[in-house]
Symmetry: C2
Subunit: 327 residues, 2 copies
């Protein structure tokens, strides 16, 4: 079992490689090789005894994908993308990497399929940004994709390509729309959505965090551990049962900011909650208003995908995975 | 007012140019120039006194679109595509023309926009093939696009691009999902959907026609005259009121084959109906089962788009427009 991870230097990519190392197998077969690709050199996963190849590539170069699949990986996890904010600021770069890069990958696989029957499993990470306001709550599986960002547009287009290439038999693909990942480890960043993680992660280690929105803002979350779980399940499951609609909204937890704070209080006490500074920011409030409050995710749940069911659980996952199990 | 029609040699393109000639104006301004583009030379519309430029171009060549917009047309009707059957048989050609061709056009406009502020109205003809079975009846405006053909995939992708380019202000675009055009003038063709027109058009002139499906098959229709009406309305209307969801399922008439035949009986008598030969074809029945039975088209109707409300009316339109007004 040879696995290719594209976007392996990112937070989810690193956690995925570590999980694959721990599991040692995928689809019931021993993992003997991993190719870890990204625009910067990915770290080899600690403890992996098989062959590791680190590829530093720019997916927007047509030849990059040919090189990546030259070893005919059995499973390809495609996590690479430039993020929403950057794709919005740099229109051309967004399309080059998020759309053309993905299409080059799909085309390279199609050409290999026609040459030698290559037909890998392709797991593509899409995003809840494929939908756009006004949105019902919860959003049904059959709701249309009318993105309000170039990033969401690029993801929605790749979903369509993935279904068509899968229908034609060029590869066996599945697209998964990840919820907002919470609690995102690391430092606070400038993403408009950063506060959802900041207001929990920072107080848990005694640091202040800024809350720029009101507590009634509702959003859709899953832990990094769940995100990796979705990827593993996507690689293992029988895709025949998914049928031609290959893109699925992943399960998650719909919660208000107030519910996040209540969970923090239960897990870490009033002292932690007091570290959240309320500084309303009109611009972030306006951006937030267009975000998905939550999905039904009926199909994904029926297919065995699972996520956290409370923010207490999401916080505990963070404490276990990032803080060595203790506060 | 300078108008560019891409796909001007096709049936709808020809009727559009003729209608524009008859109207003499668009958006309340006199039409002084028409550029008619297609892979084969389009016929100049009879009676047009402005400047006509005939362009024979292959839209899948990146430079073609630059040439087409060199004269900075005020309104661009983009009707060009290779049809569903051909796009399914020739995967590469389908993507080259239906996706890349459209993207080259949008990119050429974006570059012109950045160079000199060019911002034309773009009317894009999409298709009901953007949806795929299983389908509810009627299909709501907010139903997701899960096409089951490469053609439908390409149209759905172009819809997404159109919305994003419009949102960014590069052009002022609208995508319209045309129903199946009925009664399509001309000779019977080999398209799987051809029988919807054949069973009316041929008997109306005393010819036999073959019906390959059962009479309970329900589908979604509008006349060629209505299709042209949608295009004109799309060019004239204020798109601010459409908002960011720039793709609309057009109104139409949902009817069973049995209802088509009853209308034929009322308009042309039992003699005409007797010319329909029932020859069930399993393959066509299976293909048909995946087609759209009808749409709510709530938004489009509210925005002033109109279509026929009975098959009697559709037949009468055909008699007026194609048979000189009499049977």
């Amino acid at each position: 079992m040879h696995i290719l991870v594209i976007g392996a230097a990112g937070m989810v990519g690193r956690k995925l490689a570590q999980r694959l190392t721990r599991d040692g197998e995928l689809q019931g077969q021993q993992i003997t090789a991993m190719t870890l690709a990204d625009v910067v050199a990915a770290e080899p996963p600690v403890g992996f005894t098989g062959k590791v190849t680190i590829e530093t590539v720019d997916l927007s170069e047509p030849a990059a994908s040919e090189k990546l699949i030259a070893g005919r990986p059995d499973v390809i996890f495609h996590l690479a993308a430039i993020v929403s904010g950057e794709a919005e600021l740099d229109f051309e770069k967004g399309y080059q990497i998020n759309l053309d890069g993905t299409r080059y990958l799909f085309e390279a696989i199609r050409h290999a399929h026609m040459a030698d029957g290559f037909r890998p499993r392709v797991v593509f990470t899409s995003s809840i940004a494929v939908v756009g306001a006004p949105l019902p709550y919860p959003i049904p599986d059959e709701f249309h994709t009318t993105p309000l960002t170039s990033y969401g547009t690029q993801k929605a287009i790749c979903e369509l390509l993935l279904s068509d290439y899968s229908r034609k038999g060029f590869f066996d693909g599945i697209g998964i729309r990840l919820p907002t990942i919470c609690i995102r480890p690391g430092k606070p960043n400038k993403a408009a959505s950063g506060f959802f993680s900041n207001i929990l992660r920072e107080p848990l280690v005694g640091q202040e965090a800024i809350l720029p929105v009101t507590e009634d803002v509702r959003h859709w979350h899953a832990s990094p551990r769940s995100a990796v779980g979705f990827l593993i399940h996507s690689a293992n499951m029988d895709l025949e049962q998914v049928g031609p609609r290959r893109n699925l909204s992943m399960p998650g937890l719909s919660a208000t900011v107030g519910e996040q704070i209540e969970a923090l209080r239960r897990v870490a006490g009033e002292k932690a909650v007091k570290l959240i500074r309320h500084e309303p920011d009109e611009m972030i409030m306006r951006i937030c208003a267009g975000w998905a409050p939550g999905f039904e995710a009926t199909r994904a749940r029926a297919l065995g995908f699972t996520a956290e069911s409370s923010f207490d659980e999401i916080i505990k996952v963070h404490i276990e995975d990032e803080l060595g199990g203790k506060l």
